[in-house]
């Protein structure tokens, strides 16, 4: 629309236009913006503007509509973020079992360490094996008795055993433990013959 058209619009805003021209103006979409602008200028001059005013509403709506594909368009970028997060989750998913495994190894290692410490501590205090060479030597199967427990029998301490008595005591403990280990081998077969009513199995008959 040219300058002349703009004057028309201005005249229409001021109500100085006839019906026909107004209809013509209404049909002309290009001048709608000017129509609105003139009205706003007039409102501003008369001090009738609302306190909060959205300037260029139709334009912002149009922009919003036009931007809509633009809002959709960044979505690949938006979805890329979850992807990054997913890969992060996936990688941590790999890390967690790894750490779990390390945990297990650490536990296993600490168990081994305890065992080794035990060896170091108790090697010096193994029982004196004074027993005559047994027919069936089951001795290597057993661990040495813990001296700590030996001392729990406080009575022994009070009676102040001689060295010979301690040796004798250890020899007897060994004899019992050896015999127990041997019996495990011998008794194993008992289960084969009859394992339902164990009370009725006198082996020696």
């Amino acid at each position: 629309m040219d300058k002349l058209g703009q004057e028309w619009v201005s005249a229409a805003v001021d109500g100085e236009i006839d019906e026909h021209t107004l209809a013509e103006l209404a049909a002309d979409a290009d001048s709608h913006e000017q129509w609105r602008d003139y009205h706003m200028i007039g409102d501003a001059m008369r001090g009738e503007l609302p306190k909060a005013m959205s300037l260029d509403l139709s334009a912002s709506i149009m922009a919003a509509i036009e931007d809509e594909p633009a809002i959709v368009a960044p979505q690949p970028i938006v979805t890329e973020e979850p992807k990054v997060a997913e890969t992060k989750v996936a990688s941590t998913g790999k890390i967690i079992p790894l750490f779990k495994q390390f945990g297990q190894y650490a536990i296993a290692a600490s168990v081994a360490l305890v065992a080794v410490v035990g060896v170091q501590n108790y090697n010096q205090e193994t029982l004196v094996d004074n027993s005559p060479l047994p027919v069936l030597n089951t001795r290597p199967l057993i661990g040495s008795a813990s001296p700590v427990s030996l001392q729990t029998g406080a009575v022994q301490q009070n009676q102040s055993y001689t060295n010979d008595q301690v040796v004798e005591q250890r020899r007897r403990i060994n004899a019992y433990i050896q015999d127990h280990m041997l019996q495990q081998r011998l008794n194993n077969g008992v289960n084969i013959d009859d394992n339902t009513e164990v009370d009725t199995i006198p082996v020696a008959q």
């Binding site: 297990q104 168990v111 065992a115 035990g118 060896v119 108790y122 090697n123 193994t126 027993s131 005559p132 060479l133 047994p134 027919v135 069936l136 030597n137 290597p140 057993i142 661990g143 040495s144 008795a145 813990s146 427990s149 030996l150 729990t152 029998g153 009575v155 022994q156 055993y161 008595q165 301690v166 004798e168 005591q169 020899r171 007897r172 403990i173 060994n174 004899a175 019992y176 433990i177 050896q178 015999d179 127990h180 019996q183 495990q184 081998r185 011998l186 008794n187 194993n188 077969g189 008992v190 289960n191 084969i192 394992n195 164990v198 009370d199 199995i201 006198p202 082996v203 020696a204 008959q205």
Partner: protein, 310 residues
């Protein structure tokens, strides 16, 4: 919606097949695997002051179970089993055979037997999984029903159901003993060594008839699941001391109870070794009751106190 649910159900069933096996069934499968499969396992036995490497080979020759156990370190110490005869071949004594259904001293015989026999004293609980000897293992806890015995944990190979690790654990969760498989080979055919062992002439089984029948000892109290296996009179192998002997067991834990004339030096009331083996003594007049076994010393004490002559 219903279709989706059905689809989810259908998809989840095959995946749950192995997950759903209850603990008891794992042990049943292991028992069967130990009896029927042909395999070679290299393992270490870990006790408080001992670490022993072992090899165990098992197979079937002419439908009879044949097994071979070898200690890899130290003086040669082997055991061979053909059927129900186990021969111990050790460096410092002539080989001797005993009547037994498993080689004693490695994997508890009860695990190759009917595991439901253990249910009086233990509960089976499914645990987690871990990788042992490069294989996926399923943990089964064997939890004692009371404080009178130790607990156990066993890891079973998820493919073959053979044991991969076996722990004995005290009441305060201390590891007492461990068997750890480092290599498990499932064999396609019977290894030559087992065929050889099957052909070999082994010493005759030591006669048990020279065992004198013992007195009729009874117990006023035994922990649930414990049963008397053997009663006899013999002399201790080390000291030649004459003893009355009673063997009791709950399947996993074995206890020996001795009644003897009290010695000149008294034995400690309670003694615990670091691998879980305990000894308890109860003096009655001039007699002495000694109980030995891999159970807490308190249990042994109580058993020693509860013995009586019928």
């Amino acid at each position: 919606m219903r279709l989706i649910l059905l689809a989810i159900l259908a998809m989840s069933f095959p995946a749950m097949a192995r997950e759903d096996i209850p603990a008891k069934a794992w042990l049943d499968n292991m028992s069967q695997a130990l009896r029927e499969q042909e395999f070679k396992i290299s393992l270490i036995q870990l006790q408080a002051d001992h670490i022993r490497p072992l090899v165990y080979i098992h197979g079937k020759v002419n439908d009879e179970e044949v097994a071979f156990l070898e200690h890899l370190n130290g003086p040669p110490k082997n055991a061979v089993r053909v059927g129900n005869t186990v021969t111990f071949i050790e460096h410092d004594q002539p080989a001797y055979s005993v009547h037994a259904n498993r080689i004693q001293g490695v994997i508890p015989a009860a695990f190759a037997d009917d595991v439901s026999k253990l249910e009086d004293g233990y509960q089976f609980v499914l645990g987690g999984r871990s990788r042992i000897a490069g294989r996926p293992g399923q943990l089964i806890r064997i939890i004692p029903t009371d404080n009178n015995r130790y607990g156990y944990q066993i890891w079973v190979d998820m493919d073959t159901f053979l044991p991969l690790r076996f722990d004995m654990i005290s009441g305060d969760k201390q590891l007492l003993e461990q068997l750890l498989v480092v290599e498990l080979l499932v064999l396609d055919e019977v290894p030559a060594i087992l065929k050889e062992a099957y052909k070999q002439e082994w010493p005759a089984v030591m006669s048990q008839s020279d065992r004198d029948s013992g007195e009729d000892w009874q117990f006023s109290w035994l922990p649930a699941g414990f049963k008397v296996l053997v009663k006899d009179q013999h002399r201790l192998i080390g000291s030649k001391e004459a003893v009355e002997y009673i063997a009791i067991s709950d399947g996993l834990a074995s206890i020996s109870v001795y009644v003897a004339k009290a010695g000149e030096s008294s034995l400690p009331e309670e003694l615990v070794t670091r691998n879980g083996l305990s000894l308890a003594t109860e003096r009655v007049g001039n007699a002495e009751v000694v109980a030995v076994g891999k159970v807490p010393a308190e249990t042994l004490s109580r058993i020693a106190k509860s013995i009586m002559l019928q």
